[in-house]
């Protein structure tokens, strides 16, 4: 028995050694800069933030271990936390539904065009190139009291002003801004997927008398469902992390009506110098993203069709 083990070890060792000879070392050498980068700027900060979430580090001085008290405070005594959580989920759901519906609609519309397809694709993709901060500043000027929207509404004699000062409408303003900036990416993605649907299937269905709606619902949609799934998951993840628009347009206000997890992390960490508490929120955000992504992967079995 023992002999067998040593034998196995003896046999496996040369193989691993061989791997680290010649090519293996060269590969490692070339990968090293990337690996060091990943370790220093990704793995280490992640580990540090886990550790920090159990301390009350104020950025200056040394962190003090406080156990789970950041987490207990977050879930039990922080008066803002559940509002922040609700805002984040609300933003994600509304934004996700609108983004997917609108970008899919645009993609279908663009692919149905006889001329100007490329032009429209570029037009809708352009905002994706613009830095989100710049986009948010422009939209903030449009929505702020006395801004473009207010004067438009005044021209139309509609009693509607100061969207960003309104606790219900401020979030909608943020969502509109995000849609403007974010829709292009999914539109191009879905448009490309639609173009990949074999024309022969659609041709055959048309001959069999399928309506345009049937062709969309029963052929094109199932065939692009993997892309749709990818778009949905990625959009959900980025919208759970929403920060830039809120930082520029509302600073979480009025009241706490637009404060989201991403903004709360920034505010606690870099404005209030509660690094430990901010790290705890970051891990709650991580858990939320993981849970929702897992849910989406579970749900995909019902509606995503890979090439059969």
């Amino acid at each position: 028995m023992l002999a067998k083990h040593t034998d196995l070890n003896a046999r496996s060792r040369p193989r691993s050694r061989r791997w680290f000879r010649g090519e293996g070392w060269t590969a490692l050498f070339f990968l090293l800069p990337g690996l060091i980068g990943i370790f220093l700027f990704l793995v280490l900060p992640i580990l540090a933030s886990i550790a920090l979430s159990f301390t009350n580090w104020q950025l200056l001085g040394t962190p003090r271990f406080v156990g789970f008290s950041n987490y207990t405070r977050l879930f039990t005594t922080d008066p803002q936390f559940w509002t922040v959580m609700r805002n984040t989920v609300f933003f994600t759901i509304e934004y996700l539904i609108l983004n997917i519906a609108l970008s899919l609609g645009l993609a279908v519309w663009i692919s149905s065009l006889k001329i100007g397809q490329r032009w429209f694709r570029v037009v809708f993709f352009l905002p994706t190139f613009t830095p989100l901060i710049a986009v948010a500043i422009v939209w903030m000027l449009i929505f702020s009291s006395g801004g473009l929207l207010d004067s438009l509404m005044a021209q139309l004699s509609l009693p509607f002003s100061g969207v960003l000062n309104n606790r219900t409408l401020a979030m909608q303003a943020v969502i509109i801004t995000s849609l403007w900036a974010g829709i292009g990416y999914n539109t191009v993605l879905f448009n490309a997927a639609l173009d990949m649907v074999p024309a022969t299937y659609l041709e055959a269905a048309r001959i069999d008398g399928a309506t345009a709606w049937d062709r969309f619902w029963k052929i094109r949609l199932p065939l692009i469902s993997p892309t749709l799934f990818f778009g949905t998951v990625m959009t959900a993840i980025t919208s759970l992390q929403v920060f830039d628009q809120i930082y520029v347009m509302t600073k979480g206000g009025p009241g706490s009506s637009t404060a989201t997890l991403g903004y709360a992390i920034y505010q606690r960490g870099f404005q209030n110098f509660q690094m430990g508490y901010a790290s705890a929120i970051a891990w709650v955000m991580f858990a939320l993203i993981m849970a929702l992504t897992a849910l989406q992967f579970w749900l995909q079995r019902k509606w995503v069709h890979y090439d059969a």
Partner: protein, 404 residues
Amino acid sequence: MKHSLIFAAALTASSLFGISAQALDAPVTVTWQMWGEPNDAQLWQQLADLVTQQYPDIKVKLQLSGWTDYWTRLPVLAASGQVADIVSMQSMRMPNFYSILDPLDDYVKKSDVKVADFETSIMSGLSQDGKLYALPYDVGPWMVFYNRDKFAAAGLKEPAKDWTFDDFKTTAKALTKDGTYGYGTQAFDFIAGPVALGAEYFNADNEFDLTNAGFVDAFSKYADLTAKDKLSPVFASASDASAASGRFASGNVAMYIDGPWTLITAQANVNFKIGIAPLPRGSGPSRFITAGSGWGISAASQHKDAAFKALQVLTGPKAAEILGAAGRALPARLAQQTYWYDGAAKNVAGTRDTLQYMFAHTTPFRINEKWNQFENLVMQYVPVALTGDSTPEGVLSDIQSQLP
């Protein structure tokens, strides 16, 4: 014998070397972390050069970053031990950062810096627990900026130095017409305003106590100017201090509250005459809070003595004259304030009188380490009271509940 000879020779050599090293005094580069726009760089560089002129062995290296970046970078640099030798500090942020600075009292005692040369209120603003952590370069109270042309057009008298809140409100009412608001409110008004009315936001233990009757009442007075009397436009949480100054410059609001540090910019942006008045008082005597900024020495600095020499020049009379004459700062040095009054404030009637009255009536600006958090919450929550979505009491208790 031989050994001791060598030893003696070595000793002599080393002592000689020691003496010569002391006499030569190797040049030192002192780093100086400061905020400012790129177009401020020249002014700050001028001050840095002033140090080298006086002490040829000391070179000051300026590290400039934007205002917001500065406060994000400072704690990060401090935490990683890379903070500059000379650190710029604003009085309102001192409670968060004094731990990275060295107390200056001993340095001051040994030097010929006279504490009495500086405005008292800002010296206490840059102190923590009775220890001085920075020497100030500027100082200023919050005060009312007003459009003198609009006052004249409305047939209003110039405000008295001890005008009351009712006077202020009546004036704002008279100025609110033809699409112009009498007053443009900003987040900080809800701190400086109530204090001037005699209210306190702290209890005896220096903890926030926003729901005391006095503060709620004074806060409500300011909120009602917008919510009930419609004498001011609402500001959104996002648009910070600059919202009302822009409206003031374009002539859409006739009065707003700001500090002397903006006077030079305000004048450049307007095509009317500016007047300044103290904040209105309540039923008691006037009282005002002042803020300002200065420079301290990093506790981690390797060149503390050189840094203090540089600091003396940077906050010295010549530097104060340069900053005052350029309009960049109302000098914290009393004797040099005249350069600001005669330069930047030359066209603004009564600046000297008004400010001297205000300095004579200052009250300590009470802050603690949660001050930043409080200011952010004020910016976030006050708009809700201005639109009438919530009552002033509601807003204050919301803010209070979030300040653990």
